[in-house]
C-alpha cells in the first residue's frame, strides 16, 4: 500500500513538473516582441517605400463609409531623409492649379503608435487640401472654414505591406488608402489611365451592369469616380455610394465588395474590350449599351448591304411609292428607332429626303414592339395592334401602300436577336443575329 503511495507521489510530482513545462512548448505567435516588430516593420517599410524607381501610386480616398468624393490618384516618391514628393492633377489643387499636374515636396515619417503610421506631417499642396477643414463646395476658389472639409487623412495606419503594395487606413476617418508601386513614370500613368477611362466611360452611357452571371446590380455614374450601386438604374430602393480610382487597366473600388458568392475590388478591361472583369474573373462589369441601343431616341439605320432579297424588294417598292407621292421625295433608309413629328412611334422608321438636293429629310414610322428579353438581346414584334405614326397614316390616307409594305418588311424582322456592338461602351452600330426567326441585320447611327 505504501509502495502505491510512493509511486502515486512520484507520478504526481512528475506530472506537475511536466505540466509546468508544457506551456513553454506552445508555438510562439510571433518571433519578436511587439516593440521589436513595430521597429523592424518600420525599417522594412522604409526600405520598401524608398526602393521604388518610379515611386508609388497612392489611391487616395476620403471620408467615412458612404463615399462623398471620387478616389484620387496621387503619386509619391519617398526619400530616406524624410522627404516625399507628391504629385497629382485633381480638381482640389489650389492657387490656380486645379486639374493641372502639380508636384510638391514635403515631409513624411513612419511613427510608431499601436501600429505603424505613415504620416505626411507638413503641409503638402497635393494631399493636404483633402484634410483642410474648409468647405469643399467652395474650394478651391474660396476657402471657407467649416471645421470638417473633405474628411481626408494625413495619418495613414499601415494595415499590410509587401514589396509592391502598402495598404493603409486613414487614422481619423477610416478611408482605405492603397499605395501600389508605380510601373511607369507618373505622367505616363496619368495618360494611360486617362486613355482607359475615356475608353470605358462616356457621358452617353454611364450605367453599367455588375453581374456574376446570376445576380445583377447596377453601377450608375462610374465616370465620376464615385458612383451609385443599386438594384436598378431608375428609382432604386437601395443605393450605396462607392468611390473608385481609375487605373491604366480598369478601376479599383475603395473597399472589397461581394456579389453572390464572389468577392471583388478591382476590375480589368478584358481582351476583347467587351467588359471589365474582377480579379478572379467571376464578376463582370459592362456598360448598358443594350439599353442604349433599344431606347435610343434617334434612328439606327439598317445596313442595306445586308438586306435579304425580299427586304431589298420591299425597300425598292416603298421607294417607288414614295416617289409617287411626291416627285421630290427619295427614300434614304429603313431603320429602327423613334420617329419625329406628330404621334411619334418607336419602331421601324423610314427616312426620306424631301428635296432633290437631298439636304432635307423627314421620316415616317410603324410601331414595333421592341423588348430586351435578356441582356445583350433584342426582340422585335409587329402585329395589327402596332400603329403607324402621323406621317405614315397620311401616306395611307392618300392611297399609298407604304404602310402595308412596311408591315411586310417588319414581318421579316420579327424574332429575337443576339446583339453584337462595334464598341461595348459606346456603340455606333450593332449586328443582330437571329436566335429565333427573323433575319440578320446591322443597324448603325
Amino acid at each position: 500500500m505504501k509502495d502505491i503511495k510512493y509511486i502515486a507521489l512520484c507520478v504526481a510530482l512528475t506530472t506537475i513538473a511536466l505540466a509546468g513545462c508544457s506551456r513553454f512548448e506552445e508555438d510562439d505567435l510571433f518571433d519578436e516582441s511587439a516593440a521589436l516588430r513595430i521597429e523592424h516593420n518600420a525599417e522594412k517599410l522604409q526600405e520598401i517605400l524608398v526602393n521604388a524607381p518610379y515611386g508609388w501610386v497612392m489611391q487616395y480616398h476620403t471620408g467615412r463609409g458612404v463615399a462623398v468624393f471620387e478616389g484620387f490618384n496621387l503619386f509619391a516618391k519617398f526619400e530616406k531623409g524624410g522627404k516625399v514628393t507628391l504629385a497629382g492633377d485633381h480638381r482640389y489643387l489650389r492657387d490656380g492649379n486645379a486639374n493641372k499636374y502639380t508636384e510638391c515636396a514635403s515631409l513624411y515619417e513612419l511613427i510608431r503608435e499601436d501600429g505603424l503610421v505613415l504620416t505626411f506631417n507638413t503641409w503638402n499642396d497635393v494631399l493636404t487640401p483633402f484634410v483642410d477643414p474648409v468647405s469643399y463646395w467652395a474650394a478651391p476658389g474660396s476657402l471657407l472654414k467649416d471645421g470638417e472639409g473633405m474628411q481626408g487623412d494625413q495619418n495613414l495606419v499601415v494595415m499590410s505591406m509587401s514589396q509592391d503594395e502598402v495598404i493603409c487606413r486613414g487614422e481619423r476617418y477610416d478611408a482605405l488608402i492603397r499605395l501600389v508601386k508605380a510601373d511607369r513614370d507618373w505622367q505616363t500613368y496619368i495618360n494611360d489611365t486617362k486613355t482607359l477611362k475615356e475608353r470605358i466611360t462616356n457621358s452617353v452611357i454611364d450605367s453599367y451592369y455588375i453581374t456574376d452571371g446570376v445576380d445583377t446590380m447596377y453601377y450608375v455614374g462610374l465616370r465620376n469616380g464615385r458612383y451609385r450601386l443599386s438594384e436598378r438604374v431608375n428609382n432604386p430602393l437601395r443605393v450605396d455610394s462607392i468611390s473608385c480610382c481609375f487605373t491604366p487597366t480598369g478601376f479599383r473600388n475603395e473597399r472589397v465588395d461581394t456579389l453572390g458568392r464572389y468577392t471583388f475590388q478591382e476590375f480589368y478591361l478584358n481582351e476583347d474590350a467587351s467588359a471589365l472583369v474582377s480579379e478572379d474573373g467571376r464578376v463582370q462589369v459592362f456598360a448598358t449599351w443594350d439599353n442604349y441601343i433599344i431606347n435610343h431616341s434617334a434612328v439606327w439605320e439598317m445596313d442595306a448591304e445586308l438586306f435579304t432579297e425580299e427586304q431589298q424588294a420591299l425597300f425598292d417598292q416603298i421607294a417607288a411609292e414614295m416617289n409617287t407621292l411626291n416627285k421630290q421625295w427619295t427614300l434614304k433608309s429603313i431603320g429602327i428607332g423613334r420617329s419625329t413629328g406628330k404621334n411619334p412611334v418607336n419602331g421601324l422608321i423610314l427616312t426620306y429626303y424631301t428635296n432633290t438636293a437631298k439636304t432635307k429629310t423627314n421620316n415616317a414610322g410603324l410601331e414595333l414592339t421592341i423588348l430586351k428579353p435578356k441582356s445583350k438581346q433584342m426582340s422585335l414584334d409587329c402585329t395589327e395592334d402596332n400603329v403607324p405614326d402621323n406621317n405614315l397614316s397620311v401616306f395611307t390616307s392618300r392611297g399609298s401602300a407604304i404602310e402595308s409594305l412596311l408591315r411586310q418588311f417588319a414581318a421579316t424582322l420579327i424574332g429575337t436577336y443576339d446583339m453584337t456592338p462595334n464598341d461595348y461602351f459606346l456603340p455606333t452600330s450593332v449586328h443582330c443575329t437571329p436566335i429565333s426567326s427573323g433575319t440578320a441585320f446591322t443597324i448603325g447611327s
Binding site: 507638413t122 477643414p133 471645421g147
Partner: protein
C-alpha cells in the same frame, strides 16, 4: 528488514526524482532570453545629418534646444493635438519663418529684460505648430492657441502667415496679423504659465466680478466688453483669462486698438481722477496724442438704439459707439411681421477733432456705480502691471516698447538674420 531496505530505496528514489524534477523545472524556467542592447539606435546624434530638414533642425537645436531646452514641433503630431478639431500640418517654409520670429519677438525680448535663465526656467518646453485654425462650426469660434500646463504651447493658423521668399517684406498689416494670430496668443499663454507659478492678486478678479461669462463670452461685442472694463471679449470669460489678456494686450496691441478701446471705455463717463490716469496710460503705451493723421483726433461717436418688436419703436441701448462698432448688417422682423427692419440705428452724437482737447474734456465725470468701463480697465491694468513688476521684475510697458521696436525693424531682421532652408 527487506521492507525497511525497500523503503530506504524508495526514499532515495524519491529524492532523486525530486531533484531531477526541480532541476528540469528550474532549467525550463530559466529561458533562453538573451538581452541585447537597446533596439533603438542610440548612436544617432541630437540633430540627424541624414534628414532632409537637417539645416533647419540644426538651427532649432542651436536657437531653442541648447539655450532654452525647447522642442519646436513643426511636424504635425496628431496624437498630441486636439482631436475635437480637424487640423492640418503647418507649411515647412512658414514654420521656419515663425520659429525665427518667435526667437526674435518673444524669447529675445524676455531674455533681454529678465535674464538668460528666465525663459529656460519658465518658458514652455514644447511649441506645436498647426497649419489650420481650431475652428468650431457650432460656435463659429477659432482657437488660435492653447497652453497645456505650462509645458506646451500650440499655435494654430500657421498656414495663413505670409510666407518667406527672397526679398520678402512685412508690412504693418502683416505684423498685425502676426500679433493677432501668434504673439498675442503666446504672451497670453506664457502669462498663464507665470500666474500659475506665482498667483495674481484676488483683487484683480473683484474689479469686474459680476460680469464674467465662461459660456457665452463670444456673443459679447467689443463695445460691450470695453464699456464693462475688459480689454477683449475673451477677457470677459474668466478672471484668469482677463488677467493674461490684459498683459498680452499691453505687449502686443496696436496704438489704434488701444485708443479705440480707451475711447470706447471712457465715452459713457469716467470717475474722478480717471482722466489723468488715461493720459498716463497713453503715455506708457508710447502713443503720441498729437501724431498727425491719427484716428483718435478725427472720430465720431454714435448713439445706438435697438428695434423693439413689441412696440415697433427704436429704443436707446444707452451706449455710445465708434464707427467700427456699429452693427449695421443685423435685421429683425418688424412688429407687424411683414418685413425685415434694421435691428440697430445710429445717430451721430458728436464728431471729435482731438482726443486730448476735445474728447477728454467732453467726457463727463460721474460717480455712478454702474459705470465700470475705463475705471475698471485702469484698475486692472494697474494690478496686472504691478504684479508683473513685483513678482518677475518685468515692466509690461517696457516689453511692449521692445516688441514694437523689433517689429519696426522686422524687415532688416528678415533680410539679415533669416535663412529659410529647402528640403535637401
Amino acid at each position: 528488514m527487506h521492507e525497511l531496505k525497500l523503503r530506504k530505496e524508495m526514499k532515495k528514489l524519491i529524492y532523486i526524482i525530486g531533484i531531477a524534477v526541480a532541476t528540469v523545472t528550474i532549467s525550463s524556467c530559466r529561458g533562453d532570453d538573451n538581452f541585447t542592447d537597446s533596439i533603438f539606435d542610440t548612436s544617432v546624434p541630437a540633430v540627424d545629418e541624414t534628414k532632409a530638414t537637417y539645416p533647419f533642425d540644426l538651427w532649432l537645436y542651436e536657437n531653442f534646444v541648447v539655450p532654452y531646452n525647447v522642442d519646436v514641433k513643426y511636424r504635425f503630431d496628431l496624437s498630441a493635438s486636439d482631436l475635437n478639431f480637424q487640423l492640418t500640418p503647418a507649411d515647412y517654409n512658414r514654420s521656419q519663418l515663425l520659429a525665427h520670429f518667435i526667437r526674435y519677438l518673444f524669447y529675445d525680448v524676455y531674455t533681454k529684460y529678465a535674464g538668460d535663465d528666465f525663459m529656460k526656467k519658465y518658458g514652455p518646453r514644447i511649441f506645436h505648430f498647426i497649419g489650420s485654425s481650431g475652428y468650431s462650426p457650432t460656435t463659429g469660434t477659432e482657437v488660435l492657441g492653447t497652453a497645456s500646463g505650462g509645458v506646451k504651447i500650440t499655435l494654430y493658423k500657421i498656414n495663413e502667415m505670409k510666407p518667406y521668399s527672397e526679398g520678402v517684406t512685412y508690412s504693418g498689416d502683416d505684423v498685425n496679423i502676426l500679433n493677432e494670430n501668434y504673439f498675442h496668443t503666446m504672451h497670453h499663454e506664457f502669462s498663464h504659465v507665470l500666474h500659475q507659478t506665482k498667483s495674481y492678486p484676488v483683487t484683480f478678479g473683484q474689479v469686474t466680478s459680476g460680469s464674467y461669462d465662461p459660456i457665452n463670452w463670444q456673443d459679447r461685442d467689443s463695445c460691450w466688453t470695453h464699456q464693462h472694463g475688459y480689454v477683449t471679449h475673451y477677457a470677459s470669460s474668466a478672471t484668469y483669462e482677463d488677467f493674461v489678456e490684459t498683459l498680452s494686450c499691453i505687449i502686443t496691441d496696436t496704438k489704434y486698438r488701444w485708443m479705440n478701446r480707451i475711447i470706447n471705455a471712457a465715452a459713457m463717463g469716467v470717475r474722478q481722477g480717471d482722466k489723468e490716469d488715461i493720459l498716463e496710460l497713453i503715455d506708457s503705451l508710447d502713443i503720441d496724442l498729437d501724431a498727425p493723421d491719427s484716428h483718435w483726433n478725427d472720430f465720431t461717436l454714435y448713439e445706438e438704439s435697438e428695434y423693439n418688436d413689441q412696440t415697433g419703436e427704436y429704443e436707446s441701448t444707452e451706449r455710445y459707439v465708434l464707427d467700427e462698432h456699429r452693427l449695421l448688417g443685423y435685421q429683425v422682423v418688424n412688429k407687424e411681421a411683414t418685413a425685415y427692419v434694421a435691428q440697430y440705428k445710429y445717430k451721430v452724437l458728436r464728431k471729435f477733432t482731438s482726443f486730448k482737447d476735445d474728447f477728454l474734456p467732453w467726457v463727463e465725470i460721474s460717480s455712478d456705480e454702474e459705470l465700470t468701463g475705463i475705471n475698471s480697465l485702469l484698475k486692472k491694468l494697474d494690478i496686472a502691471t504691478k504684479w508683473y513688476k513685483e513678482n518677475w521684475g518685468l515692466y509690461a510697458f517696457t516689453l511692449r516698447r521692445e516688441v514694437v521696436e523689433r517689429q519696426n525693424n522686422i524687415n532688416d531682421y528678415l533680410q539679415n538674420d533669416v535663412t529659410i532652408y529647402e528640403l535637401k
